[in-house]
């Protein structure tokens, strides 16, 4: 009996040691490339740093400067604007199109393929493409606008429109990706719900609003979180679509774009850039916590 217990203990120890060996590569990598950098970055945010070296300790001065930096506040406002306008649009249209291609409809496979193509295209290519479509003089969008009697718009050059142009491209590319995710969630809904409701005489509209939408709840919630996080970190489209020598670049900048400019394109603002990334992380943390709390009260179905 005693012997057996001992060998059981040895087996357990062996299992634990094996487990540690198995997770060591992952955790070592996370240590070197995430945990330590995380701490370092926070330390950098208290320093005045240039492209080379570690600079000098300046306490909270980077953060004080942020508070008075108009460009920072603009970038912060822009980022929230992109999220506030972009998230509902992406969620709405992805559910809309997913629902359409979920129907038994002729040409469904083709529609799906076409709708999904933006989702697999790299943002860099999307950016140069839309930069051309939105071109003031020769862009095809302005051509169509004039055709229907409207005025041409300097989409990427006018500070009043540039943010909407970013939203347009952002939503265009994200709807495609989330249509795939929403459709998968719709296909996961048990068919018997629909059959039962059908027998009770429910209309198609009722099926959608009383079954599909509620059962999609957890997925919609998850998608809201993912889209929010994605948009709060928007960089590529702004960086590549808007001419970086113009005023409208400053006017459309997101937090991450400003972070990139400070940390890598300006010679003595790397510490300042680190401070921006810390603020961004704090914002995302707060929003995540809020969303978790909302989830607790909002979603009772699923899981």
């Amino acid at each position: 009996m005693k012997v057996k217990k001992e060998s059981l203990g040895r087996l357990k120890r062996k299992e634990a040691i094996t487990a540690y060996i198995f997770i060591v590569p992952m955790f070592l990598g996370l240590m070197v490339f995430s945990v330590v950098p995380f701490v370092q970055n926070i330390l950098y945010s208290f320093r005045k740093m240039g492209t080379f070296g570690n600079g000098t300790f300046v306490g909270l001065s980077n953060y004080q400067k942020l508070l008075q930096d108009e460009t920072f506040w603009l970038a912060l406002r822009n980022t929230f604007f992109y999220a506030a306008v972009g998230v509902p649009l992406v969620i709405f249209f992805s559910i809309f199109f997913a629902n359409l291609v979920n129907k038994k409809i002729r040409g469904r496979t083709l529609y799906r393929t076409l709708l999904y193509i933006p989702a697999i295209t790299m943002p860099a290519a999307i950016s140069i493409l839309w930069r051309w479509i939105l071109n003031y003089q020769y862009g095809i969008l302005n051509f169509f606008l004039e055709k229907i009697g409207l005025q041409r718009i300097s989409w990427l050059g006018d500070v009043h429109y540039v943010r909407w142009a970013i939203i347009l491209v952002l939503v265009w590319s994200m709807v495609s990706y989330y249509t795939i995710i929403m459709l998968a969630a719709m296909q996961g809904i048990d068919k018997s719900y629909y059959e039962a409701a059908r027998i009770d005489g429910a209309s198609n509209r009722q099926l959608f609003f009383k079954i599909t939408l509620p059962l999609l709840g957890p997925m919609i919630f998850f998608a809201i979180i993912m889209v929010t996080m994605g948009i709060l970190q928007i960089f590529d489209f702004i960086y590549l679509m808007v001419d970086r020598t113009t005023y409208s670049y400053t006017y459309s900048m997101s937090l991450v774009t400003y972070f990139y400019e400070c940390a890598f394109n300006k010679s003595s603002m790397r510490g300042y850039g680190a401070a921006i990334s810390v603020v961004l992380a704090l914002i995302i943390m707060v929003i995540t916590i809020i969303q978790m709390i909302v989830k607790k009260y909002w979603i009772k179905t699923g899981d």
């Binding site: 995380f38 051309w132 095809i140 995710i181």
Partner: protein, 278 residues
């Protein structure tokens, strides 16, 4: 097999109207990209807009290929994606196996730690990571692009889910037969989570394909760039000649679109998996 009530003719027509409109919005820009890429410069700046070129001008593709070394960019991008995929499969799946199947002290704490780390936006790591690459002389190398992307926490969550669908009796039987834990992981379980590995590979490939910021930061030399970073260079230098820029765009997107059309099922399943709740 009609679960839905057959819809009215009007609704059915509207379905198609919306879908045609949606499909056109999704693909139209790409068609425009292609049409522009075979025009002359004069045709691109013609007012009113000229939709089709008089004669397709394929030279644009040759011209842009002289300015941007596309074979090299492709090679770099594919190598980066491949190294990331292989590296992740090795590092991520064995870690996921340990978290799903083995008992060890501190398991929950470590798992929560990973979860917390996953929530942190990536920008916060970027400056220190770049400093690491500088000190390791890994700037302007492909390894420098791959290394920080190898330790994919989401991948661990994903693979753990796949492992958890396999009955535990299988491991127990193998254990009684005297299999080591590594053999159970490698010979018994890994072959059973092939669909999970495919998903991980597709998501990793899409990520490596799309990523822009890190390649821009780490690799500034043209011959070490990825496609995305190469396209970014194109904008700064040749924006006036959109027929050339669009030809570059076509070269950059067409192969993946073709790949997508062929392997649509796998792509869609992969992307759908990125939407699973953790």
């Amino acid at each position: 097999m009609s679960i839905r009530q057959s819809e009215s003719l009007f609704t059915r027509i509207m379905n198609h109207v919306f879908l045609v409109l949606g499909s056109f919005l999704a693909v139209g820009p790409f068609i425009w990209m292609f049409l522009t890429s075979i025009k002359t410069f004069e045709e691109t700046i013609q007012i009113p807009v000229k939709f089709l070129p008089d004669i397709p001008r394929w030279e644009n593709y040759a011209i842009i290929s002289d300015k941007l070394n596309f074979p090299r960019l492709y090679l770099n991008t594919i190598l980066v994606a491949l190294m990331m995929i292989v590296g992740q499969i090795l590092i991520v799946t064995i870690c996921a196996y340990a978290f799903d199947r083995l008992k060890f002290p501190g398991k929950n704490v470590l798992f929560l730690g990973m979860l917390a780390l996953m929530m942190v936006p990536g920008q916060i790591f970027v400056i220190p990571r770049f400093k690491i690459m500088v000190s390791l002389h890994l700037t302007n190398t492909l390894i420098g692009l791959v290394l920080p992307g190898l330790f994919n926490i989401f991948g661990v969550f994903l693979m753990r889910q796949f492992f958890s669908t396999i009955p535990k009796e299988l491991d127990e039987a193998a254990l009684i037969d005297g299999c080591s834990y590594f053999r159970i992981y490698w010979n018994v379980l890994l072959p059973l989570v092939k669909s999970g590995i495919t998903t991980l590979a597709i998501l990793t490939m899409l990520g490596a394909w799309k990523d822009l910021m890190w390649p821009l930061i780490n690799n500034s030399r043209a011959e070490m760039m990825t496609l995305a970073a190469g396209l970014a260079m194109l904008i700064g230098e040749h924006t006036t000649y959109y027929e050339q820029v669009m030809a570059g765009g076509v070269i950059a997107v067409l192969p993946l679109i073709i790949l997508f059309v062929i392997f649509q099922k796998q792509f869609v399943a992969g992307i759908a998996q990125s939407g699973i709740k953790g």
